[in-house]
Amino acid sequence: MSADHYLEVINLKKYFPVNENLFGRNRSWLKAVDGVTFYLNRGETMGLVGESGCGKSTLGRLIINLLPPTGGEVFLENQNIFDFTGEKRKELRRKMQIIFQDPYGSLNPRMNIGDIIAEPLYIHNLARGNSVQKRVKQLLDYVGLSAYHINRYPHEFSGGQRQRVGIARALAVEPELIVCDEPVSALDVSIQSQVLNLLKDLQQELDLTYLFIAHGLNVVKHVSTRVGVMYLGKLVEITGSDELYDNPLHPYTKALLSAIPIPDPKLKRERILLSGDVQSPIDPPPGCRFNARCPVAFELCTQEEPELREYSKGHYVACHRLGRDAH
């Protein structure tokens, strides 16, 4: 483990029990996150893409310690966050925050905006009396809402405005790392870019580090410096965001990229259509998770799981094909 990374995730695993029998013993496991290793540098935005159900959101929740892991470690500034208990854990909560996908479900419908944003201030005793109001107004100002919204309830706001409230609430504790769990996928396209730009501006002003989860590559390209591609609980490729678009190495990444529509009817492009369904993450068979749908799979792929290896500087891929022949 190198010491210069802000956040190190090492072999992180989360299995959910399924099919629990009468005595509480499970016969099988849903391997939502299965041995994920990567790092985050301070101040960068790492995008995380993958299909629905591939474990992106679970990974995000593991990293901010919202879910207990089945195995593995997360080091924040060289401290394992899973070792924290009690007060230290509460302190940790101030460093890492999350912004949710659904702006309708992430705000308590019985509380007004002012109270929602003031909650973290009370929880961590960050402000008292008059300074609470002042701080709430300042936070509203950060996210582009005005002070007169304070007494309104969430249902009076549009999706984009609610997402801003969610961002303000996360900012209230002055976090360093924010996990953005598909923050724009529930919003109209016109509002998406506004929220993305807001996040970018806040990152510059407040020196934030983002783990940006999305299910489409186009949103991720807009915001991230590096991108990780997930498939069924595994990271299959990590690289710089430009490199990913210019030189994707994993067959799954190639398929994903070819699915981005190009707004030019004359331009012909070869689309890689994946056949078959996504495998079930419940008790996956040995070998590469992608082998059943992979156009270039060969024998080894059904037997051995490929490891994530660095092929060129900062470009990590997990594929048996690489280094064997060009494809």
Partner: protein, 303 residues
């Protein structure tokens, strides 16, 4: 953020996004819907009148509800001085009805409050923490629910001894499972909401999450259930008294009065009929109000 940065963000979107979904405050909206429901309003009015009348009992009648006057026994309705007649011991029926309303209504509300308190507590903890406590509490509640309500109440009174207070405790215990189940079910779905997850991520304590975020959102089904349950509790308490397990004679309580009159049904039916009608009125009004409240709180449930 410590250095008060000037976050200047271009906000051309403010204009585009500012067409807010204007809706009335949810509480006002519920009140408005409830007011439109004439039947519910009627129920609420009857209930308020009954409560006011029983509270004002000492000012409305000069008789003592428990003083026996054998000279005037079994007077029929409309007798001079006794509008609603007298019972077999010559006590003024109107007086006894008014004083009885105090006890019945108070018992109904208190029993519901007790059942609600424990039911909510069990439901919150079971639904939120799941695991072993949930299994234990829910199996215990299954056991309680396996007995017929009245039988269980009688069994509890048999253990505690007859009396108004014990009858109230018994029907409260019988009512607990009802609330525990409703609350547990609601909490199970609420705990998965993202705003609860957000509170966890912010470092809120379980106590804060339970009582500040989950309970207020679980309240509307509880309120409806409680309104409908008060009526049931009043019937149950009167029933216990009728059987001689609750309020004891000579106390003016509707169930006791019903029981007092049963030996005189042919000569003076009003002794039983009047308290019976009083119970009927109050329970009906509570049910009408409860139904209206349910429809107002969740219009989707309306059939």
């Amino acid at each position: 953020m410590q250095t008060e940065p000037n976050v200047k963000i271009d906000q051309p979107e403010a204009a585009a996004e500012d067409f807010e979904v204007i809706q009335a405050d949810p509480k006002q909206e519920i009140w408005r819907r409830l007011k439109k429901d004439k039947i519910a309003v009627a129920g609420g009015c009857i209930l308020v009148v009954v409560i006011l009348l029983s509270l004002a009992a000492p000012y409305l009648t000069s008789y003592n509800p428990n003083v026996v006057n054998m000279a005037d026994r079994l007077l029929p309705l409309g007798s001079p001085g006794h509008i609603l007649g007298t019972d077999h011991l010559g006590r003024d029926m109107l007086t006894r009805l008014l004083y009885g309303g105090r006890i019945s209504v108070a018992i109904g509300f208190t029993a519901v409050a007790i059942a609600m308190f424990f039911g909510i507590l069990i439901g919150l903890l079971a639904g939120y923490y799941k695991g072993f406590f949930d299994i234990l509490a829910m199996r215990f509640i299954d056991i309680l629910m396996a007995f017929p309500y009245v039988l269980l109440a009688i069994a509890i009174i048999a253990a505690l001894g007859p009396g108004l207070l014990n009858a109230m405790i018994a029907i409260s215990i019988v009512g607990i499972p009802y609330y525990a189940r409703i609350v547990r079910g609601t909490v199970l779905s609420l705990r998965e909401q993202e705003y609860i997850e957000a509170q966890k991520a912010l470092g809120a304590s379980d106590l804060r999450i339970l009582f500040k975020h989950i309970l207020p959102n679980a309240l509307s089904p509880i309120i409806v259930a409680a309104t409908l349950d008060v009526g049931w509790m009043i019937i149950a308490a009167s029933g216990m008294s009728f059987l001689g397990l609750g309020a004891q004679p000579p106390m003016a309580e509707w169930g006791v009065m019903l029981s007092d009159g049963k030996d005189f049904l042919r000569v003076a039916p009003h002794i039983s009929l009047l308290p019976g009608m009083a119970i009927f009125m109050v329970v009906l009004s509570l049910n009408l109000l409860g139904d209206g409240l349910r429809d107002a709180l969740d219009p989707r449930l309306k059939q």
